[in-house]
């Protein structure tokens, strides 16, 4: 065997080895990431009354379907109707948030103006105060606006998200400045640059923010709790929590069935958004 053959073979086996390791690590993290969902699924799709902490595999399709059916056909506080309301409010909040924060991030990322850093730190400070203390004043404002039990009451207060602003800003910072100069030479208005140049290139940022914001809105509990006193407007998080009170007589597996079902729409939305948004934005010249 020549030394070059040996080198080629060892290079090959190193390639295989590195490929195997890559796959091993990647799949390992898939298992870690998805395990709790899989586990919940196993508990739901097992007969009621089996030891919950020991169900790692589903053992009864029928039992699971029965529980799922029971959750979906609740006559009081139904999760399906709640999903409709929640979807509307989440979509509204996401749309508003993406628009408002990307617009502001456009300014922060690509231009200079007096007070820029102060304003940005001010915006970030909103992330540093827990909802526990800001809840009452926020609630007072919402009441003054007559937003009790309304969709806008649910959606608007969370729209000016500093985190979304931060995400957009950092992504936009990475865009080449020549594009802006080219745009203004071509006579584009300031807003036009935002709309026709920067936004089309921000597909990845929009996807990230939209997905995260949707999931957040879906899971939001404390704000819908205080702003909704009409059970027909309850969001999914409120309906799910109703099943699982502290001294609730609901059994664990049924509670998990409720939470499992409440988690389905965000997953579906994520898959849908991933495809739709990436397609809607031009990504020529970029890796995506």
């Amino acid at each position: 065997m020549t030394s070059s053959t040996r080198a080629r073979i060892s290079w090959r086996s190193r390639q295989w080895f590195s490929l195997a390791v890559r796959w091993l690590l990647a799949i390992f993290w898939v298992i870690v990431a998805v395990f709790p969902l899989w586990y919940t699924f196993s508990v739901v799709f097992s007969p009621p009354g089996v030891p919950v902490t020991r169900q790692f595999f589903p053992s009864s399709f029928n039992a699971g379907m029965q529980k799922v059916g029971a959750v979906l056909t609740q006559t009081n506080l139904n999760i399906v109707t709640a999903s409709g309301v929640t979807f509307l409010y989440a979509a509204l909040q996401v749309a508003g948030m993406v628009f408002v924060t990307s617009l502001a991030a456009f300014e922060f990322a690509l231009f200079d103006f007096p007070g820029k850093n102060v304003l940005f730190m001010l915006a970030l400070s909103s992330l540093m105060m827990p909802a526990a203390v800001t809840l009452i004043p926020l609630f007072q404002i919402a009441i003054k606006l007559s937003w009790l039990n309304t969709l806008q009451g649910l959606a608007v207060p969370g729209m000016a998200s500093a985190l979304a602003l931060f995400i957009f800003r950092q992504f936009m910072e990475g865009l080449p400045r020549e594009l802006i100069d080219a745009g203004s030479i071509d006579g584009a208005s300031h807003f036009g640059i935002y709309r026709r140049i920067i936004m089309p290139l921000s597909g990845n940022a929009v996807l990230t923010v939209a997905v995260w914001a949707f999931v957040n809105a879906w899971a939001n509990y404390i704000w819908p709790l205080v702003i909704l006193t009409d059970p027909t407007m309850y969001t999914v998080s409120l309906v799910a929590a109703a099943q699982v009170g502290q001294r609730s007589w609901t059994t664990v597996d049924f509670a998990m069935a409720t939470y499992l079902i409440s988690a389905i729409p965000p997953i579906v939305i994520y898959v849908f958004l991933q495809r739709y948004i990436i397609q809607g934005f031009s990504t020529t010249g970029l890796k995506g």
Binding site: G49, F139, I143, L148, V226, T229, M233, A242, G245, T250
Partner: protein, 436 residues
């Protein structure tokens, strides 16, 4: 390039939400403002329908309980054509009421735990229903459990009507007991007997019970088992150091046989249903889970008894209750009518019979249908013993249970002497009650 799709989506959503917003604001009644602000709009007319907004625990809004309440509302509205009831199951309703009280957003009637009574009175929105209550016929007033009714009527005022109650009971895995050489039918006489049984169970290779030091709610029950009674006088706790010391001594002696898995953990429940653990302390809401476990594994056998106390005539367990209250304002009278309807035996009897909950209505509990449910009967009996989960209608902050937990931890893991730990706990509790 094609039109930006996001603008289209945004416009559609804004239009839709605008439409819904219109629907939303029309469908809900105007926020309940205290009478002072809009007197003329709120005066109930004899011919006009008054809407009583009723907030209650969320799990009463689902399943069988939800159906039962629907029936109640329908029956009440039929009997009182000028009153409509809006049934709102609401989680964390104490917090929601506090958040909304300042802005006038709170219900006309509500159910709340006894241990939150003082907090609620401090909001200033609870109505003193003594005038309405005193006007009720004697038969009505006699049906309520006297002790709990007493707690609701300090110094001539009546804050509401007692509704439901809970108590901890002791669940026993009879297979494990038999395996360890204990005859379940013999019961448990007192703490000495119980410790002996735990030793036997441990010797047979089983876990006796889960870790009870994880929550003051468990520890308090044992203080009750030693004769301690919860209460506050002159801003200090009336719990006797002696009862506390006895309970802590028991904890110290129990420690070798207790598992390191918390009694409140799902893992402990699973050990219990898998014939690995002998005892489990919990309220009656754990029973549906055990019934399911029996269906899944018919070999699993269990029973429930009162939690043993220090002596044969004493019993332990923490207990608590819920009451129906009414807020001040023009709808208070209508709201009281609804409260009285709910608390009446005709309704609470069904609540107890169909849902198996303990109600604080002696007439309802005496009903033969209700008496058939032995867990319910046991729980009702248990509320006469043990330790209340708070000192009712006096300043008892929610973390007033913490000194009990700290003391139990100290004697179980740090080798602290029960007497010293008891003293420390009482001092800590008095500090908490003083508002520090």
């Amino acid at each position: 390039m094609k039109r930006h799709p996001i603008y289209f989506v945004l416009v559609v959503l804004l239009v839709v939400s605008g439409m819904l917003a219109g629907c939303g604001t029309r469908a809900t009644p105007a926020p309940q403002t205290p009478a002072a602000t809009q007197p003329d709009a709120k005066q109930p007319d004899a011919a006009e329908a008054v809407t009583v907004e009723f907030w209650t625990f969320p799990d009463w809004g689902v399943g069988d309980a939800g159906d039962l309440f629907k029936t109640f509302v329908a029956e009440f509205e039929a009997a009182n054509p000028d009153i409509k009831v809006k049934f709102v199951p609401k989680a964390d309703l104490e917090q929601a009421i506090i958040a909304g009280a300042g802005s006038g957003v709170y219900p006309d009637a509500f159910t709340v735990a006894f241990n939150q009574g003082d907090t609620f009175l401090k909001t200033g929105i609870v109505a003193d229903v003594a005038p309405y209550y005193n006007a009720m016929p004697a038969d009505f007033k006699k049906q309520f459990n006297p002790g709990w009714m007493q707690a609701l009527s300090p110094d001539g005022r009546v804050w509401g009507l007692p509704f439901t109650a809970y108590a901890q009971v002791l669940y026993r895995n009879t297979n494990v007991l038999r395996d360890a050489g204990i005859d379940p039918a013999a019961g448990i006489k007192d703490w000495e007997d119980w410790l002996a049984q735990m030793a036997q169970i441990d010797a047979a290779g089983y876990s006796a019970i889960g870790d009870l030091t994880t929550d003051g709610w468990f520890v308090m029950g044992f203080v009750g088992g030693a004769g301690g009674k919860n209460g506050v006088a002159n801003g200090e706790t009336t719990v006797s150091a002696d009862a506390l010391t006895q309970a802590l001594t028991f904890f110290q002696q129990m420690q070798p046989y207790a598992s390191d898995i918390g009694n409140g953990d799902q893992a402990a429940v699973d050990m219990f249903t898998s014939d690995e653990m002998a005892f489990h302390i919990m309220g009656p809401w754990a029973n549906p889970g055990f019934q399911d476990a029996q269906k899944a594994n018919p070999a699993f056998e269990y029973d429930y008894v009162l939690i043993p106390g220090a002596t044969a005539s004493q019993f332990g367990g923490t207990n608590g209750g819920e009451w129906i209250g009414v807020t001040q304002g023009p709808r208070a009278e209508a709201a009281f009518k609804w409260a009285a309807f709910l608390a009446d035996a005709a309704q609470t009897r069904r609540f107890a019979a169909i849902l198996g909950r303990t109600v604080l209505n002696d007439v309802a509990m005496a009903d033969p249908e209700v008496q058939k449910n032995d867990l319910n009967v046991l729980t009702a009996k248990a509320t006469n013993y043990g330790f209340a989960d708070a000192a009712y209608f006096t300043f008892w902050p929610l973390d007033a249970r913490v000194p009990f937990k700290t003391a139990a931890e100290a004697v179980s893991f740090d080798g602290e002497s029960p007497a010293a730990a008891a003293q420390a706990a009482i001092a800590e509790l008095n500090q908490v009650l003083a508002g520090q």
